[in-house]
């Protein structure tokens, strides 16, 4: 048997209407938000139940057909793009039930629910779901877990893995694995949750998760600091954290970003070498005191500050950061969005080195990102029709990744590895952890997915 036979069996068992094979259907699934990798699968199976997932993994494993799990396809690295045409894309978007359990402090979400849908469901009960990738209105819970996504609130709340109590995962062959319990304390080891979170669909398919929820903050004050030197902004950020403040959001934008936002979106944001936007949350009585302290730190580093708790003004203070990606993508048809993380103490060095790199290549590269957790998004802009610019952009992409490794950071803070950063990833592993680490992980992969059907070609596999 081969791919057609496997498909025919799946089709019989899950129902014909859930299996798409027309080129005009499968080509719609040929890209993700990296836009760089393109391959249509042989078929798309739209799973609407656990049983559908089980059947696909059972048949595909037996027939050695690659399976690429997919949520909304918002990964920025090619993680949800198949590498071979005889692959099945397993679309989990039809599975999207959400149940909030306030008494026990969690929300159960199926893999296809979007992160924003989960957050909104929690908000109806006075709680929220803290991880907020910029794509949260589209990105699914399954995808966000598989990528271990982060977001703007990472400085305080971390990434997806910090919010998972339990998960259900299906393994190649169709075996179901229930990991963890929806309680706040349980201590079996080894912790298999962390094995699957961030594994980019290479070990199994996450079908649902029990996620922690958090009370909505009583009050939030937004502070905008503008700086004449990029390094001053970097210093302010590390000082804010060093002095014990953990703002819910701590974002950085450089001059180039502000320029592009003003040019493209017609805003009139004060032009400065750098801007820092911080959200300080806390009890009504204390939040302004905390905000003033953060303002003070920014001023000590040479910043000029504005702060507000008025929703309209808060929106105004945030508009440059909010519009950054839209402005850059409108201005440049080609962009490579980097995603490095560096230790906070190395933030200033990283910013300086990025500036040097920009000068060396003579390319536009706005830098913005969640600097509060050391995660930066240098965004290399280029004209895709210009071969020279394309070459330079790719070189810069690699060199930025290497910079992160040299500084003791990571090549990806939240976007993942997929196809885009595979080589860099192996470099990072070898440089920091050594070949032995790689061997252990490959053994785990062989054990869970002996036939190598799960999202081949991604990560270390």
């Amino acid at each position: 048997m081969g791919f057609p036979e496997a498909l025919s069996e799946i089709s019989k068992r899950v129902g014909k209407s859930k299996v798409l094979t027309d080129p005009e259907d499968v080509y719609a699934y040929s890209l993700d938000a990296s836009t760089e990798y393109r391959r249509a699968p042989g078929a798309v199976v739209r799973a609407s139940s656990d049983e559908d997932v089980r059947v696909v993994l059972e048949v595909a494993d037996r027939e050695r057909v690659p399976v690429v799990p997919r949520g909304s396809g918002t990964s920025l690295t090619g993680a949800s793009v198949p590498i071979s045409p005889d692959s099945i894309v397993l679309d989990l978007t039809p599975m999207r039930r959400i149940q909030v359990n306030v008494d026990d402090g969690y929300v159960m979400a199926e893999a296809g629910a979007t992160v924003l849908e989960v957050d909104r469901a929690c908000r109806e009960h006075g709680f929220f779901f803290p991880p907020d990738p910029a794509s949260s209105r589209v990105a699914t819970v399954g995808g966000a877990l598989a990528e271990n996504a982060g977001g703007l609130r990472g400085a305080k709340f971390g990434v997806m893995k910090n919010w998972v109590l339990a998960m259900e995962v299906y393994l190649p062959g169709g075996r179901r694995l229930r990991i963890g319990e929806p309680v706040y304390k349980w201590r079996w080891g080894p912790d298999l949750l962390s094995l699957f979170i961030g594994s980019e669909g290479t070990l199994g398919v996450i079908t649902r998760a029990w996620l922690k929820i958090y009370p909505l903050p009583e009050k939030v004050v937004r502070i905008m600091g503008t700086f004449d030197r990029l390094e001053d902004a970097g210093r302010a950020i590390s000082q804010i954290r060093r002095r014990g403040h953990v703002p819910m959001m701590l974002e950085l934008l450089d001059r180039e970003t502000i320029e592009i936002v003003n040019e493209v979106l017609g805003y009139d944001v004060e032009l400065a070498e750098a801007m820092v936007v911080a959200d300080v949350d806390g009890p009504r009585e204390a939040v302004w005191r905390m905000a003033r302290e953060v303002e003070e730190v920014m001023r000590e580093s040479g910043g000029r500050t504005r702060a507000s708790d008025d929703p309209e003004e808060m929106q105004q203070l945030y508009q440059a950061r909010q519009g950054a990606y839209a402005a850059v993508t409108r201005a440049y048809p080609g962009v490579l969005l980097e995603d490095i993380t560096v230790p906070l103490s190395k933030l200033m060095v990283a910013l300086r080195e990025l500036e040097n790199l920009r000068r060396e290549y003579g390319m536009r590269m706005p830098v913005f990102g969640h600097a509060g957790d050391g995660n930066l998004h240098p965004t290399i802009c280029f004209d895709p029709k210009d071969e020279d610019q394309l070459r330079k952009a790719r070189e810069m992409f690699i060199r930025i990744g290497r910079l992160a490794i040299e500084l003791g950071g990571a090549i990806s803070g939240e976007h993942g590895i997929g196809l885009a950063k595979k080589e860099l990833f192996l470099e990072e592993i070898k440089a920091i952890r050594g070949e032995g680490y790689l061997e252990v992980v490959r053994e785990i992969k062989r054990m869970l997915d002996p036939n190598g059907i799960m999202n081949p070609g991604k990560l270390w596999f």
Binding site: D22, E24, D32, S72, D91, T93, V335
Partner: protein, 474 residues
């Protein structure tokens, strides 16, 4: 116009539009009879009331739409499109349609008469072209028959000039969009001003200080048609008009104004009626959830979708054109404020905000295949696949998030078609025809792509594509 990629129902509508002047091909007499004795023939001071090719026959479309639901599984819309010409040959088409659905159509024609009554009460001078009214041909644009649209629009432009028309007032926002936005793109030196009914009514009510009163109290909700609110940016006028009618309480649905939701039309009601019905359900639930006793809107296609939707879900909610409610209030008398210091406020109200939420339209050098391909590839390559367009895409939502019938999926498919991936033009066209052209995608695209317009151009490319073995005259 003929092409194997174009479904029969689209050909049927397109031919009728250009040859008979209405989408169903019921003939001039049927199209103009509503206006007999109401309006003088020809423009008055260059102004005409323009009924368009949908409003005067929309009741027949509604009848056919209802019938198709009953026949689902036995007959699809393309088979129905084959029956029409056959009945016409047998000489029973018009008589049959009138006998079956003449009553339904009366409601739509009444809205036209109400609109004229309101405009005249406000002193708007205008005439009507009767059988000389050239059809706007907007359906050609909608379905991507852009070369035919261009040719037709050029003829309409010449014809209106011969007839001395300088200003058009219409109750149909799709026609208003065609004349205001598409004609200037396709016709050189287009100079005719096009206004939607609510724009001129709001302006005149403000200018004259008009206040109206209903003889009953009614809680209404308003469904903003996408062509009026999102495309033309006309939002505040409606609220102003309703605010000036005593006895009317307006309850807004969660999605309103430029963020309105789709009721399932935009051409989909013709090409894929079952999907159109599915799309409408979400909006129908939303509107009925407002607790309103009556739903108002300002678009014939939206009226049809909402009426049939409310009926099929047994919600017992009536749908009217806003014009009918204004006319009802006006029949109780028109009160004009005495000139006071409120005059200044009124003058300010003469200018309503024009919302601009859609990006610039794409501009191919010409409608030749190479130029279409160049533009489409350039634009769709810019798509970052972020999927923001899918969040509010009505068909993506109605079809359980099916990518190939979503805004982002359509961008990918157009790109694949133009690149030469092994996708079939006819099948791509089918996915592109599943779009309601509501424009939510264009409004939410961070890159600034006019996704809605790209879909129209994508339809054109699929139709004229050489690989389809079709093309004009093929």
């Amino acid at each position: 116009m003929r092409g194997t990629a174009v479904p029969e129902i689209v050909r049927f509508a397109a031919e009728n539009t250009t040859q008979t002047g209405d989408i169903l091909g019921l003939g001039t007499e049927q199209r103009v009879r509503w206006a007999k004795g109401l309006l003088p023939r020809g423009p008055v001071n260059g102004t005409v009331f323009y009924s368009g090719e949908m409003y005067p026959v929309m009741g027949y479309a509604e009848g056919a739409f209802r019938m198709l639901k009953r026949l689902e599984g036995f007959m699809d819309v393309n088979s129905l499109a084959r029956v029409g010409p056959l009945m016409r040959k047998l000489g029973i088409y018009r008589v049959g349609a009138r006998a079956l659905w003449g009553g339904l159509n009366e409601k739509y024609q009444r809205a036209l008469r109400d609109a004229v009554y309101v405009l005249r009460k406000l002193g708007v001078e205008m005439g009507y072209l009767f059988e000389d009214e050239p059809p706007s041909g907007v359906a050609l644009h909608t379905y991507g028959l852009l070369r035919e649209f261009k040719e037709h629009a050029e003829w309409v432009s010449r014809r209106l000039e011969e007839l001395g028309v300088r200003r058009i007032i219409t109750l149909d926002p799709i026609v208003a969009t065609a004349f205001r936005l598409y004609y200037p793109e396709f016709v050189k030196d287009w100079r005719v001003e096009a206004l939607h009914f609510v724009e001129i009514v709001a302006r005149e009510m403000a200018r004259q200080g008009v206040r109206l009163r209903l003889s009953r109290r009614v809680r209404v909700t308003y469904h903003d048609p996408c062509y009026l609110a999102r495309t033309l940016g006309v939002v505040d006028e409606v609220r102003f008009i309703l605010g000036r009618i005593e006895g009317v309480e307006l309850v807004e649905p969660p999605r309103h104004g430029v963020n309105t939701g789709c009721s399932g039309d935009g051409g989909l009601e013709l090409t894929q009626p079952p999907l159109a019905r599915k799309v409408s359900y979400e909006r129908i639930e939303e509107l009925s959830g407002t607790g309103a006793e009556r739903v108002l809107t300002s678009c014939p296609a939206c009226i049809m979708m909402l009426r049939t939707g409310f009926d099929s879900m047994n919600l017992g909610l009536g749908v009217d054109d806003l014009a009918s409610l204004v006319a009802e209030a006006m029949r109780n008398g028109v009160e004009r404020e005495v000139e006071t210091d409120a005059g200044e406020e009124r003058r300010e109200k003469l200018f309503f905000k024009r919302y601009r939420v859609l990006p610039r339209s794409p501009e191919p050098k010409s409608l030749e295949l190479d130029d279409l391909a160049e533009m489409l590839l350039w634009e769709t390559d810019k798509c970052k696949k972020c999927g923001f367009c899918n969040v509010e895409c009505p068909t993506y939502r109605a079809l359980d998030r099916l990518e190939s019938r979503s805004a982002r999926g359509r961008m990918t498919l157009i790109n694949s078609l133009v690149r030469g991936d092994p996708v079939r033009p006819r099948a791509v066209l089918d996915r592109l025809y599943s779009c309601v052209l509501c424009g939510q995608c264009s409004q939410s695209c961070p890159v600034g792509l006019h996704v809605q317009e790209l879909i129209v151009y994508g339809r054109a490319y699929a139709i004229y594509s050489g690989r389809a073995g079709v093309g004009p005259g093929a």
